[in-house]
Symmetry: C2
Subunit: 340 residues, 2 copies
C-alpha cells in the first residue's frame, strides 16, 4: 500500500506504512474470526447486512470492510462489498481452498510475542522465546501447526505426489518425516493405492495425522511412528523420504545429521524430497522465501531459510549424489529432489 516509491520526492509514507503493518494482520485475523468473507459469500453485502449476519456492530463492520478493501481482500462499490477472486477461493469457509485456519497459527499470541522480542533476538542471534530448540518436542505448538496449516499444503502436496510418480500406481514405500497433519503422505496414498506411508512425528501430533488419514479413507495405507526425527528408528528400503518444512528449523550440522539418517533409510536409487522456502543466492529475493529467515530468527535458536547452494552442500555432505530444484507452481516454496 506504500505509494512513496512512485513519488518523485521522498516521503515518510512507506515508513509509516511498515510501522503500521501490524494492523493489517490484525484486521485480516479479525475478519476471519468473525467469518466476514463467508457472510459476504452467502449474500450479505452491505455493512448493515454483514453486521447482522456476524453479530457485530454496523460501524465496526463498515470500517473493517473498508480496510479489507484497501488491502485488496474485498471489492467495494455503491457501499456494497464483494469478495475478490482470492478471498472467494481462500477465505470463504465453504470453499475447498479455505485457509482461514492458518491465521490461528501465523498470528498467534506466541508468534506475536516472539516478534515483540525481536530486538533481543537480533542481539543474541536466535530466539529469546521460551523454546527455540526444535529437536525437542513442543506438543502444543506442533499440534496447533498440524490443525491450522494443512490448507497451505494442497498445491505442494499434489506437486510432490506427481513428482514421485503416483499415477503409475507402482508399489512404493514412503517415509514422511515430521509429518504434522500428514497431508503430504496422505495425498500420495490417495492417488496411489499401492503406496505405503510411514508417518513420523511426536505422538500427540500424529493423532492429527491419524484423523486426517481416516477422513481421507487411507488409514490402511498409513502407519504411524512416534518420536524425534533425530533418533527414532526410520526403518529402511524407502523409495522416497519426505522432508517438508523441517530443515529450516535447524542449523546446517543438524540438517546434515538428519539427511545422513535419511540416506541410510532409502533404498538404492531412492529419493529425498525436501519442501522448503529457498531464497535466491542474494538472500533478498523472492520476498516470501527470503523473508522467512526472519521468522526463524524470531522463533528458533539457529534455524534459517537456506539457499539452494547451501542445501546442495549439506545434502552432498550427507551422501546424496545430486539435488535438483523444482518451483511449486503458484506457491512461494520449492521442492528439492535428492538422489541417493
Amino acid at each position: 500500500m506504500a505509494t512513496a516509491s512512485q513519488s518523485p520526492k521522498p516521503s515518510p509514507e512507506r515508513i509509516f506504512d511498515v510501522l503500521t503493518a501490524f494492523q493489517n494482520s490484525a484486521a485480516l485475523k479479525t475478519a476471519i474470526e468473525l467469518d466476514i468473507f463467508t457472510a459476504i459469500a452467502e449474500g450479505a453485502d452491505s455493512a448493515n447486512a454483514i453486521a447482522e449476519r456476524v453479530d457485530a456492530s454496523e460501524r465496526g463492520v463498515r470500517i473493517l470492510c473498508d480496510y479489507l478493501t484497501i488491502q485488496g481482500l474485498l471489492a467495494k462499490g455503491d457501499d456494497c462489498y464483494a469478495l475478490t477472486q482470492e478471498s472467494a477461493i481462500f477465505l470463504d469457509r465453504r470453499s475447498p481452498g479455505y485457509m482461514g485456519t492458518v491465521a490461528g497459527f501465523l498470528v498467534s499470541e506466541r508468534s506475536k510475542k516472539q516478534f515483540d522480542l525481536l530486538t533481543e533476538a537480533v542481539r543474541r542471534g536466535g530466539t529469546v522465546a521460551a523454546q527455540g530448540d526444535n529437536t525437542k518436542p513442543n506438543d502444543e505448538l506442533w499440534v496447533s501447526f498440524a490443525r491450522s496449516m494443512a490448507p497451505l499444503t494442497t498445491g505442494s502436496a499434489a506437486f510432490i505426489a506427481e513428482l514421485i510418480g503416483v499415477k503409475e500406481h507402482m508399489p512404493c514405500k514412503v517415509l514422511d518425516v515430521a509429518a504434522g497433519h500428514g497431508m503430504f503422505g496422505i495425498t500420495i496414498a490417495k492417488e496411489n493405492p499401492n503406496a505405503q506411508i510411514v508417518a513420523l512425528d511426536w505422538a500427540p501430533v500424529l493423532q492429527v495425522a491419524r484423523e486426517n488419514a481416516k477422513h481421507a479413507g487411507v488409514s490402511s495405507q498409513v502407519t504411524f511412528r512416534p518420536g524425534s526425527a533425530f533418533d527414532t528408528e526410520f526403518g529402511d528400503g524407502y523409495d522416497a523420504v519426505l522432508l517438508t518444512n523441517i530443515f529450516h528449523h535447524f542449523d546446517p550440522p543438524a540438517c546434515e545429521k538428519l539427511m545422513r539418517r535419511v540416506h541410510a533409510a532409502l533404498k538404492p536409487a531412492g529419493r529425498a524430497i525436501t519442501l522448503e522456502f529457498v531464497p535466491n543466492e542474494d538472500r533478498v529475493t523472492p520476498p516470501l522465501a527470503a523473508g522467512f529467515s526472519l521468522i526463524m530468527l524470531a522463533a528458533t535458536d539457529s534455524g534459517d531459510a537456506y539457499t539452494f547452494s547451501q542445501y546442495e552442500k549439506m545434502f552432498a555432505n550427507a551422501g546424496f549424489r545430486r539435488s535438483t530444484l523444482h518451483p511449486v507452481p503458484d506457491m512461494p516454496q520449492q521442492v528439492l529432489v535428492s538422489e541417493k
Copy 2:
C-alpha cells in the same frame, strides 16, 4: 510485497503476506531501536561491521538487514548494505528529517494491545481498551505522542504556516487547540515574529510544547493554556485557530460542539485550519487516509476518518460559511480551511 495480484492464477501469497505483516512492523521497530540505519550511514556496511557497531550478533543483523532490504528500506549488493534515499532522510539519526521516534508511539505495547482486541472492537463498534473517550485527559498517552510524533509534522506545519500568510509578518493571533508538541504554532511563531500563539492542551502535555518553544527560540511568542478543548476558555479575537489531528478522535456531535467554540473564538473573517486524514467519498482511497479509520475504531469510542463532505456539513452546522480542502504536498494528510 505480495506478488499474487500479478499472477494469472489466484495464490494464497497475498493472504499469507497480510497475516505476517506484523513482522514488518517489528523488524523496522527493532532496526530503529538498534540504530541500524545510523550505523550504515556512518560507514558500517557488512553484517559483521554493523553488528559490531550496534552490539548485536552478526547472524541476527544479517537476517534483519536482508529483511529490511526486502521491505525496500535498505539496498543490498555484494553482501553489503546501503541506505535508500528514504531511509537516509528519515531513519539516520543524524538527519534533520529523522523520524525514528514515531516507532515508539505507532508500535507501542498500548497500540498493539488495541489491535489484539480488534475483534471485540468490531463487535462493539468502538475500542474495548481501557480508555476510548478522548474528551478526557490521558496524560501518559498524549505526552508520549508529543514526544514521539513531532517529526511527522514538519511538512504539514510549514504548509499551514504558508497557508495563513506568515511571510507577510502581519500581527496575528493564533490558537493551537490540542497543541501536543506545539510544533504547528511554533512553526508559525518562527516564521512570523509578529505572531502570538496560544497553545492549549492538558498541562503535562504543554510541558513538551514549552520545551519545544524554548528550543525554537520563540518562548516569548507562545502562551500556554492548560485544559480540555471542550470547556477551557479559548479567549477570542483569533485570526486563526489550528485544529490538527483532533477531530478524528470524536463523533460528529462532539466535532460540531468543538467547532462552534472555535467559531466564537475567531474574529470576523478569521479561519479555522484543520489538519486531518480525509478519505475520498468512497472511504477506501487514498490508502493511508482511508485506513486511518481502523486505528480510530481500535483506539477510541467513536472516532473516525471523516470525508470532506462530512467535515463540510459539521463545520457548516457550526456556523462556518465555507470550507476548502488543500492536500499537503508529499504527505497523506489534508488541510481544511474554514472561513467564519
